[in-house]
Assembly symmetry: C2
């Protein structure tokens, strides 16, 4: 879904506006700094780009409501990164190539920054519906955002599987990653006045593909290009597709998931454009040099 500048500029502008709300006079300064650190500069912004891409092909373009929904999804994602990085979970010292929030601001600020970002996501969505003159779309959008963030099946539930003795890998990945992608695609549709349901599969498959790519890169990627350490799943005893399928199997699985995502795009006028963007995104997620490395390792294992 990587597109020309305007879509990315719209995302950054919506996030900046949301953060400005949180940083209004009276706010404690360190927590404001921690919030900004958690959100800027961003990663690939893949979830909000999905929201705006779906809104665009559904005819909603970069409407204020679509932008608010995109920002809301990204704020939830940023919150989850801050809390997942904390010492009791991944204890990750770096994120996006620099200090993680707790490493830079301490555990207290990281805990509160995650909380504040979750609240800000719901606040941004509500304010966006009002500003866009579409308050009647809020109940469905709020329900989607909440169910894909919280319990029993959202990303918090997904992370919750890391507290269990036993976990079924697909359930874990579905909740931890795919749920927020499915939320992103469906919010884009509703924001544009379209039905949500036909856009769920796109988010589901893309989310699964994204998780598979993440697992692949954790095993076969290099730290400098990822901005975070590799091999963490093994160190942390976290489930990883590669352990289950091998490198070549995981790569094949990834390709299949991207295909399914592309096939699931409903038959709208701009569907071919959206499918082409998906292919480009797949190249970004698992770049040619990583594919080559996977091929070489798989070949060596067979030989």
């Amino acid at each position: 879904m990587r597109q020309a500048g305007p879509i990315e500029a719209a995302i950054e502008a919506s996030l900046a506006a949301a953060l400005d709300t949180a940083a209004a006079p009276g706010a404690p300064a360190r927590l404001v700094a921690a919030l900004r650190h958690a959100v800027f500069p961003g990663g690939a912004r893949v979830r909000p780009r999905l929201t705006l891409s779906v809104a665009a092909v559904c005819g909603g373009g970069r409407s204020p409501l679509a932008q608010a929904a995109a920002a809301a999804v990204e704020l939830i994602h940023c919150a989850s990164l801050v809390h997942d990085d904390m010492p009791c979970f991944d204890d990750a010292p770096t994120r996006r190539g620099r200090a993680s929030v707790h490493a830079a601001f301490g555990e207290r600020c990281a805990l509160l920054a995650g909380d504040a970002l979750i609240v800000l996501a719901f606040q941004t969505l509500g304010a966006g519906a009002v500003a866009a003159g579409r308050p009647e779309r809020l109940p469905d959008m709020l329900a989607l955002l909440a169910s894909n963030t919280g319990m029993p099946l959202g990303i918090v539930a997904g992370q919750g599987w890391e507290c269990e003795d036993w976990v079924q890998l697909p359930d874990y990945h579905r909740a931890k990653t795919a749920s927020l992608f499915a939320c992103a695609s469906q919010l884009g549709a509703i924001a544009a006045g379209a039905e949500a349901r036909p856009w769920k599969a796109l988010g589901d498959w893309l989310g699964e593909a994204y998780q598979a790519a993440d697992d692949l890169r954790d095993v076969a990627g290099d730290t400098s290009s990822l901005g975070k350490p590799t091999g963490r799943d093994l160190v942390l005893g976290r489930p990883n597709l590669v352990n289950e399928m091998g490198l070549a199997g995981a790569l094949e699985h990834f390709e299949k998931l991207v295909d399914r995502a592309a096939t699931s795009v409903p038959d709208v006028a701009q569907a071919p454009m959206l499918r082409a963007l998906l292919r480009a995104e797949a190249e970004r997620l698992v770049p040619p040099e990583l594919r080559q490395r996977v091929g070489a390792v798989a070949h060596a294992a067979v030989a």
Copy 2:
């Protein structure tokens, strides 16, 4: 605001229904248990009782929307307790007379339980507005809940002042405690179809009174009746009114705040009943034996 059984039963029923949503099939079991531990059995449920009392005197009784709003406020409160108790903040081993969530389920589950409860609060409010056939009231209610929970002035911001080197005590108490009370009273009004604004002062003053009572009990209370250790503010270097005003000064301040809360009640038919409930609540917050102890200590200090 302590009333006969029905209001309390309504609160427990709404909370139970919300928790059942979170515990639906597919949820990780330990996190479900941690959520239930965080919410049941409850404390005094003072915030949801405020919501339902205001809704009642505004003519909204125990409507589904008022109940959802009451549950939402209490869920946010429970989330804040779980996160405030964690090792990086108060490191509190007990809460409401038994193990705190992190002590019982570990830090990971406590972190996620707080997150899930915040999300559940917004979800409960949204679902309540739809179930009550009042979706048009959702935008204002969502905005109130978010602004009084998050940044720059909600309870997360209030806790954020504990990360700063310097804090103005009234700002800290306003955000950390009074904001959610002001939210509770105003949500009750909106849920009943009344204007929110006239009910803000009641929540503000009652919240400040509640914080003053908490400070008093931290210094002069006894652990067994509170269900949590006393003297924690001193140990944790947290600001406490008693340090600033002395015990007698803090007690006098508390009484003044309760008076202001009672005076602020708008002139509705049932205002006298609500004012009487406030006086009863003040007796519960600072019981006679505590008043006597404060009097004795203050007397000894003068002598």
